[in-house]
Symmetry: C2
Subunit: 181 residues, 2 copies
DNA sequence: GTCTATAATTTGATAGAC
DNA sequence: GTCTATCAAATTATAGAC
């Protein structure tokens, strides 16, 4: 992956998280990087290829940041990743943004998003198992699904209403509720 | 609102809930209704006008279905509306779908979505207050925000992974957790 | 109220020079 | 690897006949 390709991915990710898959074009990216759209096509032949690359790159970076789910305060750390992301650049998670368009985006992109969500749920399931050894695997899986999908929902809700603080509020409350199982 | 306008709104809502605001066009709607795109423009001069009309119509119908929040089992009824919607037509809530594109949709549409979310939270706050008289107004508001945004997240998560049953699962679990405050 | 016709722009994508 | 030039198709939108 050379430098230009990396800059294209960075620019595309920002645009997608701003307005979804149909909210960006090759020309907009080219303009932002002061290159031509043909050059973007050289690195990513189709929009589908670029979209998938963005999703895979996003997943890879996110998983790296996740670290080990058996660490102390793993779930608090997880929550921190979401709130920091929204506060820093004012944009919600790529997966939450694109999930709404799931019915019309290219299949390879939809699959990449499904993988992102599955990896998150699996990681969280492990973290909950570590935190609550008395819980069954099924209870951990359910808590993980709730926590992940609720945070995604809270992010887009917070972004829609321009209230990033709602994400923190909701995330903390969720953790309290979930620990009372 | 005449019949053609109503059919246009119905068609547009289905398409938006399938692929978002940029996932439908005047021509697609015209084709589906066997009319011409110019006729669609006669009823709704701009795409923004049509989008807003869809959101306002959706909110109106949803609020009607909500009924009185002081009824017995109001929150269970609320949850039923969401699960039925996803199971019947396989599509998530309009608000959850469009929230991801919030950064790039016309302002009037974004405002209509904000109003939808606010009305839901207000209704739920009343329902929680009725159900748990010992809770403070702030606790009810927080529970309402959590329940609404989590259900929206669960809907798009369930739709993304083609697992409508996840919405029921998550919704029921959430109610259990929320009642333990 | 619906149509034909068309304008103006944008889109994803390609050919070929350098 | 980036460019110019261009294509075919789709987009939102309008003018004017019926």
């Amino acid at each position: 992956m050379n430098e230009t390709a990396q800059r294209i991915i960075t620019s595309a990710e920002a645009m997608i998280r701003e307005g979804g898959y149909y909210g960006f074009s090759f020309r907009q990216i080219a303009d932002e990087l002061s290159i031509k759209s043909a050059s973007v096509h050289y690195h990513f032949p189709t929009k589908e290829a670029l979209g998938s690359a963005v999703a895979e790159n996003y997943t890879e970076r996110f998983v790296q940041q996740l670290g080990d789910f058996s660490d102390q305060g793993a779930i608090q750390h997880y929550l921190g990743l979401f709130t920091a992301s929204l506060k820093n650049d004012g944009r919600a998670c790529l997966c939450g943004i694109l999930a709404g368009e799931a019915g019309k985006i290219p299949e390879s992109l939809r699959i990449a998003l499904q993988e992102f969500s599955q990896k998150n749920v699996t990681w969280l399931q492990g973290a909950f198992a570590q935190l609550h050894p008395q819980w069954t695997a099924e209870e951990c899986r359910k808590a993980a699904m709730i926590f992940f999908s609720s945070l995604e929902g809270a992010m887009v809700f917070a972004a829609l209403n321009n209230r990033p603080e709602h994400l923190t509020e909701i995330g903390e409350s969720l953790l309290q509720f979930l620990s009372k199982k």
